[in-house]
């Protein structure tokens, strides 16, 4: 016997020396026994440092370790350690080898280490070491050793793997038990974090075994380690099939669990038709039913099309009435998935689940026995039932509905009852049901009293001690805030939520508070909430900043009541979180001032510099009167940030500087100095270099007049149809807008070309069209405009559609909407010219004309931009807002044309008293154009555009070209491209304009040449054009020759706007 019983007693607190000597004695004995060398440990153990803690923790640690060793006895024959109080017995073969009083954490750890080494099970060491390091406070030495033991562990594992591999490959056939053992070992090694690449076949073989445990381990290995597309899966499926058909329910269950665990498509194909039988079969055991329900659910989720609907589907909802609560619990999950796909087929489950729910919530906690969880009756089933009901609207049947309402009230009542247990499990389970009930209440959104009660209950949770509850209350309240019934009730908690935002320690809870503030925000509290959010933004966690900024911006825009507040908010946003920069309106002087202040801060975001550069450059003069923001201060302030900025920002700043030269001649020299510095003039960045040199020569050589022209202040921003403007507009009477629009129209008209020359006259018959519902169609036919002049303009005003947002109009679809007059202006400009082409040898004639329509409605500005759209296009949307869409479609035959104006009603309610009026402001125009309005709508006629391409060869073309080269017949323009210079697009546009395109005529293939005819009643006007793009300069040169003087000019002007 190698191990004679040894007994050490380490007197607990006595003194360190005693400890040490006792230990040495113990070590010495072990060494003497010669099992292994203790040198390593002796080094580690600086005995002098051993201190007595005597803490319960130490004892606990050793207990844990020892317990582990004990548990593991089966895996390895091991010296057994038993703890009794503070004693450790080391036992080998039931003989007490050592008995040590452990009073010290570190010491007990070492002893255990010794034991582990002793048994020679190196693979366990690192596990234990991990545990030890976790436990030990002064564990540096131990963790230093971990590297080594990790290697040891690896070595050990590799050895074991090699062993198992050889066993599997060996000549000797392994029996079931051995196979199970090795498969189990492989799993263990896998779970320790190693990759396993063999043993799969052996695991599958285990499935053939008749022994339950062997089968079980086989299935476990498969569900943990075999992926669903492994080639062994077919074998597995065969086994599954056998087991499913087995008469032994435990085997059936194993198969079902395996299918549920893997649930591949192939399995769905193979087993989905079989499993429903198990589910509704009368004699199947309860556990089989449970597994079958969830197994089928898994397959249904994987491949719903594979699960055949049939007889069983009508029976499945009756499982809700099953005696066995476990069966109901499993079945509800399946039913919910089926319902989600096909709610109508399973409608019957509503009343069934309500009655089941009623039985649960009214039962006392003893009724349901083991299904009561910490005094809460069947919380899992209740929650699942409440979830199921959220797939349906509130029940129509009053008895059922009342029953459900009673259930929900009971749940709400229980929430305020004193708790039956102080355990957190009780409150969690109870509140889980409560939160699910509240979700259902919100989902139904029909019972105001329940909603308000839910809200007040959640309000109480907001100040609960449990972080989890506060989190969930904030989350649920977000949903409540969206219901009209409870929105106000939620708003009452604003203060608490703000406090949560400020004081919660957990960022995820603060995040919920932000969400809730966002959800509860409306016009009445917007300023306050946005203010709080901004304050919070200063300290907010980086992870939620982005979202927070977005929320603030949206709220500020949505509920802005005055510009100052909005700009303040947006500028604050930029200052605090510059990654977000709004492109919205800047409020000029106010912005300049604020931006100046913001730039004064020692550190500011680059985007702030950009904004600052732009604003000061444009409007710096507005604040220059103030000595604190004198011109040179402004410049210095901007330039102070210059060297910190990226090249694009620097380039922007250079532009700002040259603007400052214009605004403040007194700082011209300073700026010239900056521009001519090598850092700019010779910068490697081309953009900076070019700007510097251009601005330098501009600053040096130009007179103040030139500067002032080049650097003229930006015109007021064109109003855009942004959401904020749309919101603002709602508040203003539409009439006011309409008036404004009309005024602008008046100015615009002369610009689009004066009409001169004779025109054919035609009667005007306009009948206002009225309509409701879908839309009103208005046809305009402008007939027979004849012109021997270059261009005509027809301005038409279609008055009176676009409803103003009359809030008093009653509910949707109800009363008629009061239409305030808002104006739709339609300006039709037709330019007609005759062409000289008919005489061409080809005989082809080209005809062209243009109709230009401009419209304005309900306060939007429809300027040249809109009617210019129709120079090259025959149809499109003329105008669109929230209520109305106006589309235009034109077609032209010879010199007559038809313009159809469509009005589309975008609201759900019909537009009543809809009228359209054609307004011809100028009587001379009336004379020029014949206008007929069809009874269904209004018809307006004008001269027309039809394109007939003129084919001609180079010689013919240039012959005509030369014939038409008298000064008054030629018009040439050089202009900047207004759109990207893309040949294909340009081609489309020219064709749309009415010109034909002639290829192989110009020596430069990049140039466009072509011909067209403008047809009018009085005759046709031929014209030729040549367009020469210059890609580098982004410029075009356009030359038009036409038989009639003036036509060339007008064509030139029109084309210029398009390309």
């Amino acid at each position: 016997v190698l191990f004679a019983p040894l007994t050490f007693v380490l007197p607990p607190p006595a003194n360190a020396k005693q400890h040490a000597s006792a230990f040495q004695f113990f070590f010495g004995k072990l060494q003497h026994i010669g099992q292994f060398s203790l040198e390593t440990f002796a080094n580690q153990l600086s005995l002098a440092k051993v201190e007595h803690h005597g803490s319960a923790g130490a004892v606990r640690t050793s207990r844990l370790l020892v317990a582990a060793l004990l548990l593991n006895r089966r895996l390895c024959s091991f010296p057994i350690v038993i703890i009794e109080g503070v004693l450790i017995f080391v036992i080998v073969s039931n003989i007490v080898v050592a008995e040590i009083v452990v009073a010290d954490d570190e010491m007990s750890q070492l002893i255990l280490l010794l034991l582990v080494f002793w048994s020679g099970l190196h693979s366990l060491i690192s596990l234990l070491l991990l545990l030890l390091t976790a436990r030990s406070s002064g564990s540096k030495r131990l963790s230093a050793n971990m590297g080594k033991s990790k290697e040891a562990e690896e070595k050990r594992i590799n050895k074991e793997l090699a062993n198992i591999r050889s066993k599997f490959k060996g000549d000797k056939a392994l029996d079931g038990y051995q196979k199970k053992k090795y498969v189990c070992k492989l799993l263990f090694i896998f779970l320790l974090g190693n990759d396993i690449d063999f043993g799969h076949m052996e695991a599958v073989n285990l499935l053939n075994s008749n022994k339950y445990t062997e089968k079980q381990i086989g299935y476990l290995f498969i569900s943990v380690l075999i992926s669903e597309n492994n080639e062994l899966m077919r074998l597995v499926q065969q086994n599954l099939k056998n087991d499913l058909a087995s008469r032994n329910p435990v085997h059936v269950n194993l198969a079902l669990e395996c299918i549920a665990n893997i649930g591949s498509k192939e399995m769905a194909e193979m087993f989905a038709p079989e499993i429903p039988k198990l589910l509704v079969m009368g004699d199947a055991g309860d556990t089989v039913k449970q597994s079958a329900a969830l197994c089928l659910l898994k397959l249904f989720r994987t491949a719903p099309e594979m699960v055949p609907m049939g007889d069983w589907t009508s029976r499945v909802i009756h499982l809700l009435n099953d005696q066995h609560m476990g069966v109901v619990t499993a079945a509800v999950s399946l039913i919910e998935a089926l319902v989600k796909r096909n709610p109508d087929d399973f409608k019957g489950c509503v009343s069934l689940s309500i009655s089941r729910l009623a039985r649960i919530v009214t039962s006392s906690y003893t009724d349901l026995q083991d299904y009561t969880y910490y005094f809460v009756p069947a919380p899992w089933l209740s929650v699942k039932l409440l979830r199921l009901l959220q797939n349906y609207p509130p029940p129509e049947d009053t008895t059922v509905r009342n029953r459900l309402a009673e259930c929900l009230e009971t749940i709400l009542n229980k929430a305020v009852e004193p708790p039956k247990s102080k355990k957190v499990q009780h409150s969690n389970a109870k509140n889980a049901v409560l939160f699910e009930a509240i979700s259902l209440i919100i989902h139904m959104d029909s019972d105001p009293s329940l909603l308000v009660r839910a809200c007040s209950q959640l309000g109480q949770f907001l100040s609960n001690r449990e972080t989890n509850l506060r989190y969930l209350a904030l989350e649920s309240m977000c949903l409540l805030a969206t219901s009209e019934f409870s929105h106000d009730a939620v708003k009452r908690h604003q203060e608490t939520v703000v406090t949560a935002l400020k004081s919660e320690r957990d960022v995820s809870v603060r995040q919920r508070a932000v969400d809730l503030l966002y959800a509860m925000c409306d016009r009445s509290n917007a300023e306050e909430i946005v203010g709080e959010m901004l304050t919070y933004l200063e300290t907010a966690d980086y992870s939620i900043r982005g979202e927070l900024v977005l929320k603030i911006a949206i709220l500020a825009e949505k509920y802005a009541s005055d510009y100052t507040w909005y700009v303040d908010t947006i500028l604050n946003l930029i200052r605090l979180a510059g990654d977000f920069v709004s492109e919205e309106v800047w409020y000029r002087a106010y912005a300049a001032k604020t931006v100046f202040e913001a730039l004064e801060a020692p550190a500011c975001h680059e985007n702030m510099v950009k904004v600052g550069g732009y604003i000061l450059g444009e409007f710096g003069n507005l604040i220059a009167g103030d000595a604190r923001s004198s011109p040179s201060t402004q410049f210095q302030l901007l330039h102070g940030k210059f060297h910190l900025c990226s090249p694009p920002t620097r380039a922007l700043l250079l532009s700002a500087y040259i603007k400052l030269v214009n605004l403040f001649p007194e700082i011209r020299e300073d700026i010239i100095a900056v521009l001519e510095s090598d850092a700019n003039l010779r910068n490697s960045n081309v953009e900076i270099q070019q700007r510097a040199s251009e601005y330098l020569s501009l600053a040096r050589n130009s007179t103040q007049d030139v500067l002032a022209t080049v650097l003229e202040e930006m015109p007021p921003f064109p109003e855009r149809e942004s959401s904020i403007l749309a919101q603002l507009r709602k508040k203003k009477p539409a009439v006011e807008d309409a008036i404004r629009v009309r005024g602008e129209k008046q100015q615009q008209r002369p610009a689009s070309g004066a009409a001169d020359g004779a025109a054919a006259s035609a009667p005007i018959a306009a009948t206002p069209a009225s309509g409701g519902g879908g839309g009103v169609k208005l046809q305009g036919d402008i007939a027979g405009a004849e012109s021997n002049t270059d261009s005509d303009l027809l301005g038409l005003d279609f008055g009176g559609s676009a409803p103003a947002a009359a809030a008093g109009g009653g509910g949707a679809g109800g009363g008629s909407v009061d239409l305030l007059s808002s104006i739709l202006d339609v300006g039709v400009s037709s330019s007609s010219s005759s062409s000289a082409a008919p005489s061409a040898a080809s005989g082809a004639s080209a005809q062209r004309k243009t109709v230009v329509v401009g419209a304005g409605a309900s306060g939007s500005i429809v300027g040249e931009e809109n009617w210019h759209k129709f120079v090259c296009k025959n149809s499109g949307v003329l105008y669109e807002n929230d209520i109305l869409q106006v589309g235009v479609k034109c077609d032209y035959q010879q010199s007559s044309g038809r313009i159809v104006v469509y009005y589309g009603n975008k609201t759900p309610a019909p537009l009543a008293q809809f009228a359209s009026v054609i307004n011809l402001p100028d009587s001379s125009l009336t004379n020029q154009l014949g206008i007929q309005v069809k009874p269904v709508g209004d018809r307006v006629g004008a001269s027309e555009q039809v394109n007939e391409s003129s084919e001609m060869d180079s010689a013919t073309f240039f012959q005509h070209w030369k014939q038409l080269s008298q000064p008054e017949q030629e018009c040439q323009k050089i202009f900047q491209a207004k759109f990207p210079m893309d040949a294909e697009t340009t081609k489309t546009k020219i064709l749309g304009f009415g010109f034909s395109l002639l290829s192989n005529i110009d020596s430069n293939p990049a140039n466009f040449v072509g011909a067209g005819i403008v047809q009018t009643k009085s005759g046709n006007i031929g014209s030729l054009f040549r367009l020469e793009p210059n890609q580098q300069a982004q410029m075009y040169r356009l030359t038009v020759h036409s038989i009639k003087p003036g036509v060339s000019k007008r064509l030139c002007e029109l084309l210029e706007t398009q390309i």
């Binding site: 004990l70 976790a134 189990c184 499993a330 999950s333 939160f435 989890n468 995820s508």
Partner: protein, 166 residues
């Protein structure tokens, strides 16, 4: 539906993993790594729920072991917390004061128990008695009954190492 359940130690070592949705091994490893880092960084008093991608993470610490579940948006977080607790109770009842090492060395039992309790990501049987009865029935089927179910119980030491925090 529960997407997966992970058990890992305070040192970040994965002790048990159960996936209810199919994932590649690589994805599993990444998800595990991400979540372990995320959760270990959280302080004790913080809330047990986390938003993570499209999912909600519910976790709870028992002694040195973290239990972590990923559930879907519409699932009930509080109840998931109790799913975890019920599982711990089951383990505790079966092993008698369960500790981390029980799960390491008796992983197969931990898996079998989980399969009885949760199947396909949904709670199957909430009764503690029924689950334990099923496991006991399995143990009875073990051919070599000479293997003790739990050494600790053999030795009458069921109360040691109480790893369960109340």
């Amino acid at each position: 539906m529960i997407h997966f359940m992970l058990l890992f130690s305070r040192q970040g070592k994965l002790r048990l993993q159960k996936w209810y949705i199919s994932q590649t091994d690589k994805a599993k490893k990444k998800i595990t790594r991400d979540l372990v880092t995320l959760i270990l960084a959280r302080k004790p008093k913080m809330c047990s729920f986390l938003e993570w991608k499209e999912l909600k993470i519910v976790y709870k610490r028992y002694a040195s072991l973290y239990f972590c579940c990923a559930i879907e948006q519409q699932d009930n977080e509080l109840l998931c917390l109790e799913v975890i607790h019920r599982y711990v109770e089951l383990l505790d009842k079966y092993f008698g004061s369960v500790c981390e090492l029980d799960i390491i060395f008796n992983f197969e039992k931990a898996y079998f128990m989980l399969d009885e309790f949760i199947l396909g990501g949904e709670v199957q049987e909430t009764s503690k008695k029924n689950v334990l009865k099923a496991i006991a029935a399995q143990d009875l089927l073990q051919e070599d009954n000479n293997e003790p179910k739990s050494v600790l119980e053999d030795l009458g030491l069921a109360n040691i190492a109480s790893a369960l925090s109340s």
